[in-house]
Amino acid sequence: MPTVRLQYFAILKDKRGIASETLETEASNPLELYEHLQSLHGFPLSAKNLRVAINGDFSRMDHPLRENDEVVYIPPVAGG
């Protein structure tokens, strides 16, 4: 079970109430992890509306999670 570090932004940060956390997970990829977190925290976005970044690069939702990965879920962006 890898230990990963999560950073939260925007609506996810508001819902989670914290900006980051480190946790041990049974999830094998970001999609599974998100679905688990969503059930815990009531995130209002479904996984299909998110992108994910691992260690600072956009990544696939089914990319295997590794020990010490930095995981960031990216809600629909709205710069400008």
Binding site: I11, P44, N49, A53, D57, P75, V77, A78, G79, G80
Partner: protein, 126 residues
């Protein structure tokens, strides 16, 4: 971005405006995943330099709490000729808005607030 070969400079500035989709907005709050925003922004500028016959392209996006009338984002492009400068400037701002991990929360004059492009979310909240 001064360059003696440059004949055209096109810039875009995104200003915080007092309304969005029929709602009166009093201020905006921008948040960024900074490290990836920088990386993705640089990638977009590199794409612009490849796609268009330009000399230079640059972009700055602010974060934090901004008031009406403040500049949120600036894009500047220089080129020998204006066609490429216009096209590249448009490309950069379109891609920045679509791809760079920056989010904005609108504050409304009724005291509510909401994250933009988050319509699926559970509505606005105090």
């Amino acid at each position: 971005m001064a360059d003696p070969a440059a004949g055209a400079y096109v810039c875009f500035e995104g200003w915080v405006r007092n309304h969005n989709e029929g709602k009166a907005v009093t201020s905006l709050e921008y948040e960024a995943y900074e490290m990836l925003a920088q990386k993705e922004g640089n990638k977009i500028l590199g794409e612009a330099r490849e796609k268009f016959d330009i000399l230079e392209a640059a972009c700055i996006h602010r974060t934090g709490h901004l008031q009406i009338g403040e500049i949120a984002v600036w894009v500047g492009v220089t080129a020998k000729h204006r066609e490429a400068a216009f096209e590249a400037c448009r490309y950069v701002i379109d891609e920045v808005k679509a791809r760079v991990p920056i989010w904005k929360k609108e504050h409304y004059n009724d005291g509510n607030s909401g994250w933009v492009r988050c319509e699926q979310c559970s509505g606005h909240h105090h």
